[in-house]
Symmetry: C2
Subunit: 279 residues, 2 copies
């Protein structure tokens, strides 16, 4: 296939790196010419383009790795090859996909996807094929999608090293993502921001605080957009978490060891199951 | 020095492993004879004892790595060398230390410590000298402690590879630990327990959920004891966290991007500062 990756940041950059050595003709589009030159020098793309109008017209697959709002702009202002597939890596689907589907040319198919392989650091420098190894991928089944296109994307994504590829409706994607991705980010931000800073905190932490605050380093524009466009699901996930924290708080206050131990046993069981599911 | 480590679990085991090759005569005490045999075979201890009554009487430093309540038992039922130092690795200090100080022989000094190097897995198998490399250590300055003893312990601990050794009062230790260690555990447990389990969660997670739930695998007896004996500080830390989460929730509900972005910028700054402080 002729594949063009639009936006060579940490996700798009990881796509071109993961594609290196596979049997495709890969092009890159980025506003940063230095990034394009590096990707070309590394043998990850055949050629780089600042806009990509011409190469997009010849591409069988276009992977757009831009911010949600820019993905819509890009689709609207570019002409794609007839019969080609476009995909993306946007973290919220319902809100975004209805708009995307309404503006897309009917000869082109948009199969939306979500590589669960974000990094807290931005840019091509932090991109690597390892980012995708063993990670999860979600493909979105929209009523407008053909079965064959979903299957093609499933095979394509598996070839990049993802451990699991699952197919969900836009709504189900947003519901589970509000819990597995957005809630953890809301928690990490609230945790580090609740530090009274009375002590030199860094001297009194272990791996637990390190792990729980890693994603507190967060891209404010992207995540504000993601939170707002998945508001209902996110608020429900936060509420579910708070309910559990309330039970824990009450157990500590009342020194109710039975309840607290039950919670710890349950959470340990769930975490062990989670680890087993990743193998 | 003649050093005896009591309890060769993940922390005690890491002590004997970190001590290997340093200029000390090291003994181990554990109820598990197999563990003692392994530690001896690995050259980490000169000899192992199931109880240790005899070797304790000759030790210049006794490092007790048992559960909080068992540390008190051990101190009460053993006779230590006159002029020797006892230390521990208990995660809560105020409650525990007043009791320990009241039962200890006045010829022996108890310098309490907290290696911030716990692991979610229990036992000697998960012990390693690497656990301590670059980690933080807190020494507790109790009014009964001599300045020289604190200094001796400071040097000793530094020799094991810890990155930072700080001295705090029992109260200050418990206050900062309720935030950097106990609150993250309360959050991780509540997060994983709030999973509705409507989906096969493991297929829809990225590193954020993995990181935030790692410590949800938790020793229920130990952590119930730690939470209850540091109740006041822990409840205050949970409240501070909830206040921040409430601000975030309100900003999402009202689509108040200014407030949300400010929170994200602040959390990113704090996280970057934290990383810088670890170098």
């Amino acid at each position: 296939m002729i594949i063009t990756v639009v936006g060579l940041g940490v996700v798009g950059g990881s796509f071109v790196k993961a594609l290196k050595g596979l049997d495709h003709e890969v092009y890159g589009v980025d506003i940063n010419e230095e990034t394009l030159a590096r990707a070309k020098a590394e043998g990850c793309i055949k050629e780089g383009f600042v806009d990509g109008h011409e190469i997009i017209k010849q591409s069988d697959l276009t992977i757009i790795c831009l911010y949600p709002s820019l993905v819509l702009d890009y689709i609207q202002t570019h002409e794609f090859k007839k019969g080609s597939i476009i995909t993306d890596a946007v973290g919220v689907k319902s809100y975004f996909l209805d708009q995307a589907m309404s503006i897309i040319d009917k000869d082109v198919e948009f199969v939306s996807g979500h590589p669960m392989a974000g990094r807290e650091n931005k840019g091509y420098d932090f991109a690597s094929k390892e980012v995708f190894q063993g990670a999860n991928y979600i493909l979105i089944q929209h009523p407008q999608n053909k079965k064959e296109s979903i299957e093609l994307m499933e095979q394509f994504v598996s070839s990049l090293g993802f451990h699991s590829v699952k197919i969900l409706s836009p709504h189900d994607h947003d519901e589970i993502i509000s819990f597995t991705s957005q809630l953890p980010h809301a928690i990490a931000v609230s945790l580090i921001n609740s530090d009274s800073q009375k002590y030199d905190t860094g001297k009194y932490i272990g791996d637990s605080y390190r792990d729980l605050t890693r994603i507190a380093n967060i891209n404010e524009d992207l995540w504000t957009e993601l939170f707002f466009t998945n508001k209902t699901c996110l608020l429900k996930s936060i509420q579910g978490f708070e309910n559990q924290l309330d039970i824990l708080k009450k157990a500590v206050l009342e020194e109710d060891s039975e309840t607290l131990k039950k919670m710890f046993i349950e959470s340990s069981k769930r975490r062990k199951n989670l680890e087993a599911s990743q193998k």
